[in-house]
Assembly symmetry: C2
Homo-oligomer: 539 residues x 2
């Protein structure tokens, strides 16, 4: 049941030798070559589904230990076979488990799923790449731990994989940026050597998961969104369960209030006075096509949206223009005092109104777990998949999507401007997205918009979609908005936008690539970084 | 007045040519070659003062612009002249303004002292390397800004230099780790090319000081504590002035309480429920030789300190064993609620007592500024220098010192163990430090001990001191404690301790060095990273 695919430039004989060596190393059942098995390594949300450009694996191999990873990497290096490491391969919408470069062998780390350490005193853990958020949650619960993980939505992915792709979650700023919440890495380099970063470089150090920076250059960052090594262990900081959760809602009447809302939120977050990921939305800018005929007419009319018309609609309906929910964690009196302080600041916006949420003492009861938005409480879930699934209101389930996620300034003006520009561009390009929404991500001190681009699996339609998204990437770049992450189909296009000084960033990335992986065997093309022998083929 | 020094391996003729080219670029008055001028580039706190090993500059050159930095670097590359960039060169105790490698030309960035941007809405700034904390403070005050900087103690250094050396301050965790509080860098590479990190790679990006990570590998970390480039701009996040400051003190009766004190502090800091750098101390472990004769006798007796004897002394004196001060920033009701919540947790320690500090509304009045510990309020100061200066109680001013700063776990057990081991080792080595203290630094999730090693400028004594400190570095490494930073005299010794997998960290550091600075002209030997042609000379 051997499939016919070969890694580019590798002879059938050499590939057979490599496969044999890997089988000897990990056991024959953990080396996948049949079409049936390799179908599982396709990207279910690929915008190239079934087309010649679809990125397909030549084989997959699943080691159980760091030593096996070293062996696999050395064999690959000997024969020049590209490897594509994945943790759980669940980042649907950003590439899934398929390689960036067709003919790569997927290095599937799913069997390396051990929780190596949990330190309750210092609230940290050390895990392998195959540990999913569900695994970790179960591990903590079974041991009666009082530590929370910060989980993305959905939660079936890998802690390590999500962090390396720069995913994020919902709790406090120190935890919800998953790469920033890591502390210490172990990496198998392209030549099979093991590097430990931070205090891991000091034999016997007791602070590998406590002090991030070690001594000398901090190397961790270069292993994020790159292809310089295979991360085999990573430490993370965990959130000790707070005493209570509280959410409060601010409503303001006018379109232009967004400027002051974001400014006030910035002050609060920058002074540690608000904790969770906020939600900010307007019924005048709905996430799905509006059901109200008047609003639908406003959104369907040619030209830009008219803020005054939206304002008039909101007033006719007796709605607030903006609704912003803030989330707080801490002792009951602390979260109450924080909300009072927040209200005092937002009260500077004329007409602001407030709705107190419920104070929820922690831990949650099983009944509470059933009704809350689980990620805000560090609980993994797959509930996100109800979007696009078959249901009474949505009889035609979607075929999947990929994400378009530009970074915009954390200002009210940028929220409005990005909505205007993206909406106009989408219309010009006939992109199947009508309406945009205020930020769903606030990491670092910027907002990240996250928009789903629906794939159809109809080649002609998907081809048009891809071309339109490439154009949208360019238009956003012209406005100073770059993507923080993208699917393999667009990795080169996005990297092209980061072009300051004749693409010096990519030139430096590739000098480091050549220094650490001179044969270019690890994830060629990932995030637009190609090994020397493939740079001509940059797409 | 030309001094006789030449960069190693560079002919007098080539050096003269380089000096002429630099003079043409920056103006003759900004190229220093006289002994008189170069005396100012000696490390006033050098542990090699006046000895052959003292690290001395061959010249210094002070550009005023990025273009001039590019020109200087290109000329240096042409002739193989080592350059040693400094910002303000004020990190006394960690090397000052002297190069790591004798014969280097100091690239003094003091004239590049422009505050390029302050964003009040997003609480950030963009500065050049010559901007000191005093400059920045003045800039903000003159413009009526409500933003604070986080300053180290003392505050005459450079924001950029301090961050690149991984210095720290006193306010909230998100600000007091100065490298972590940066957002975006501009770097002149060894070949004169300009790299901008993060969103700086996207031309026209509006989020260079808002989103740290950009797209692809995060390169920023490799320019910390290294020698891969000349940082010419750096963004920082600033702390919007909070409404009030509050400090509360916890006192507990028993030696072993430190375990629970640190655990409680960890919980609070990890749940965002305490903000400032805590102070933790015990009068039984004083920072200076004890004046009380009984305590002096206990500390002077042979062998390890006896916790039971210290406990008995504390009880006879009616003192608490431990005193821990916590600091909070926020709205008055918030800081009060936080302190109440902290007290409720610390009350689990039997016999814990509490002293409420004063609630200080902000901004401070001039009278208040005169009496507070300024760095806790973001105010730069040189008051730290009263230590070791001539005074009534200290008639013999010190000659200076260098710092010994190991990272230990953030646990009570580690505080006690590190005190015991370092004290015993110091005695064995006849190191002029008698007594140690609980942590003065809490960054990341570890403690950093910071101990001054007094230099004498008497070669025989300083030689013994250096040997003893090298031994202390080794003993600490055997216990798993590595330094986070060190003076040039010890950079190789400390790097030697980070030896996991046959020094793979240094081997990777040097592969990156070769990739980015193949001629090895930038700061040879800094943090133990040497260019290829000097690796044999590693000390």
């Amino acid at each position: 049941m051997q499939n016919g695919r070969l890694p580019p430039g590798v002879s059938a004989r050499d590939f057979a030798r490599a496969l044999a060596a890997w089988k000897a190393s990990v056991g024959a059942r953990w080396v996948y070559t049949s079409d049936e098995d390799l179908d599982l390594y396709r990207d279910a949300y690929s915008p190239f589904w079934g087309e010649p450009e679809e990125r397909l694996a030549a084989a997959a191999v699943a080691p159980d230990s760091v030593e096996q990873v070293q062996q696999i990497v050395r064999v690959a290096g000997e024969h020049g076979i590209p490897l594509y490491p994945i943790s759980t391969g669940r980042n649907l919408g950003y590439g899934g488990c398929a390689p960036t470069y067709t003919g790569s062998v997927v290095l599937d780390l799913k069997r390396m799923n051990r929780v190596l350490e949990v330190d309750e005193y210092n609230a940290s853990c050390l895990v392998e790449p195959g540990v999913s958020y569900f695994d970790m949650y179960r591990h903590l619960k079974e041991r009666g731990s009082k530590l929370w993980i910060d989980v993305p939505d959905p939660g079936w992915g890998s802690l390590i994989g999500n962090a390396l792709d720069h995913g994020g979650g919902y709790t406090a700023p120190a935890y919800r940026n998953h790469f920033e919440a890591h502390c210490g890495m172990e990496i198998v380099l392209a030549d099979g050597e093991i590097l430990r970063t931070g205090m891991g470089a000091l034999p016997g150090a007791k602070t590998w998961q406590q002090y991030k920076f070690g001594y000398g250059p901090s190397l961790d960052g270069i292993f994020k969104q790159s292809n310089y090594g295979v991360v085999t262990k990573m430490g993370f900081w965990l959130f000790p369960e707070p005493e209570a959760y509280f959410s409060g809602t601010v409503m303001t009447p006018r379109h232009d209030d967004i400027v002051k809302i974001v400014e006030t939120f910035n002050y609060l977050e920058n002074t540690m006075a608000v904790h969770g990921l906020p939600s900010m939305y307007s019924q005048a800018y709905p996430m799905t096509p509006p059901t109200d005929p008047e609003l639908l007419a406003l959104h369907s009319a040619p030209g830009d949206l008219d803020p005054a018309a939206l304002q008039a609609w909101v007033e006719r309906k007796g709605l607030p223009f903006w609704t912003c929910s803030l989330k707080f964690y801490g002792a009951p009196n602390v979260v109450r005092a924080l909300w009072d302080a927040a209200k005092a600041r937002f009260a500077a916006i004329p007409g602001a109104q407030f709705r107190d949420g419920e104070l929820i003492p922690l831990p949650l009861s099983p009944e509470q777990i059933a009704r809350v938005h689980k990620p805000e409480f560090g609980i993994p879930s797959l509930e996100m998949f109800y979007i696009g699934a078959r249901s009474e209101t949505s009889p035609n389930p979607s075929n999947g999507h990929f994400w378009f996620s530009p970074i915009i300034p954390r200002t009210g003006a940028a929220v409005i401007e990005a909505n205007r520009v993206i909406r106009r561009t989408a219309r010009e390009l006939d992109l199947p997205i009508l309406i945009f929404s205020p930020p769903v991500g606030s990491w670092s001190r910027a907002f990240i918009l996250v928009l789903a681009m629906p794939i159809t699996r109809v080649p002609e339609t998907d081809r048009r979609l891809r071309a339109a998204v490439r154009q949208l990437i360019k238009v956003c770049a012209e406005h100073g908005w770059g993507e923080y992450r993208t699917a393999p189909a667009f990795m080169d296009t996005v990297m092209d936008m980061y072009s300051y000084n004749d693409h010096i960033q990519r030139r430096v990335d590739e000098r480091i690539k050549d220094a650490l992986d001179p044969k270019g065997i690890l994830s060629p093309g990932r995030y637009g970084i190609w090994p020397q022998h493939l740079r001509q083929g940059r797409r």
